[in-house]
Symmetry: C2
């Protein structure tokens, strides 16, 4: 069966068998169980990860030891602490498995080699980077424009999957509000929405 990596890339640029083989050489795959850390704050960042299956959280811990979630990464997402990965500096973020997870791993060297040798792949990564940038701007806009309640409703509408897959406390850390507030918003929805009681 076609490897997930190939399908993923060819969704953007077509590759010959030879080209794909060259690309694949630079990846390794890894399985990690729920709770495992792929990136730990303070340590070097070896890889950028492409999620094959499972769910990750990219987090930042502030001075008061509160955990904030920069993003969730699920199937087909690329994730890492980019500033640390690019620069070689120790990570300021952590990346942790919320579910059992399988990922492709790519080093910075591998990334650079692939881009240098295959313009198509540089094009692919440009495409992905642009997407990522736009998604981030969207999230910024949501912080500027929407109230916490509206942000919650947005997730409810656009990513109902998250409600199933992540504990509410994590969702709160992603939306930027306290678990208590999230719980109260959730309640008002249950009744208003017309669920059976």
């Amino acid at each position: 069966m076609e490897p997930m990596l190939r399908r993923h890339i060819e969704h953007v640029v077509p590759l010959s068998d030879e080209e794909y083989a060259f690309v694949e050489k630079h990846f390794i795959t890894r399985k990690a169980t729920k709770g495992a850390m792929l990136i730990t704050k303070g340590e070097p960042v070896r890889y950028v990860y492409l999620v094959i299956a499972g769910l990750l959280k990219l987090t930042y811990e502030d001075k008061k030891e509160r955990e904030h979630i920069v993003s969730f990464a699920m199937e087909d997402w690329w994730e890492t602490d980019y500033p640390a990965w690019f620069s070689g500096d120790p990570a300021s973020l952590s990346l942790k498995c919320i579910e059992d997870t399988q990922v492709y791993c790519l080093t910075l060297d591998g990334y650079q080699t692939i881009c240098q040798q295959l313009q198509k792949m540089e094009h692919f990564f440009l495409h992905k980077a642009n997407r990522g940038h736009m998604a981030s701007q969207d999230r910024i806009l949501s912080f500027l424009t929407d109230t916490p309640r509206e942000r919650y409703e947005l997730v409810l509408r656009k990513q109902p999957v998250l409600l199933q897959r992540v504990p509410k406390a994590l969702l709160a850390a992603y939306l930027g509000l306290s678990r208590e507030t999230l719980s109260r918003l959730y309640r008002s929805h249950r009744s208003a929405g017309g669920g059976k009681m």
Copy 2:
């Protein structure tokens, strides 16, 4: 004298005279006076802009007609409504001059042609896209982690220029708080900071 565009690009990738000439062909320059609109909500987005001099605001207007500032663009920044520029859809954002401004303009066609013909330039844009993505994640993190007061102090420390160049009301729309609140934060700083009265 060296055109700003060439210096800007060669800060990332070196170009031969011939290569630069090819690239430059696809840009036009434009001057716009304070208050002019480069992108108007609802209209098509022809260009991505590289700011040569001046200052722009990229804004979103919500249902209650309140203006939110996604970002300020100053010298050496690339800015546009990316989703609209890439897709051809009408803009959901607006881009307006806060000061008299001079920009390079590049169409999507020009961008694609340049990338296709010169791998170096695809590399350049990949570099820029990665930077942009990281900057956005940083801003997201600030919304998650910092209180409005801390966000204000961050700008104070890291981009004091903005305080000089931008009216306070705009800064508030950028930080995601009301002008009144910003004014009060500003006050408490004046006294605490030990400025002459």
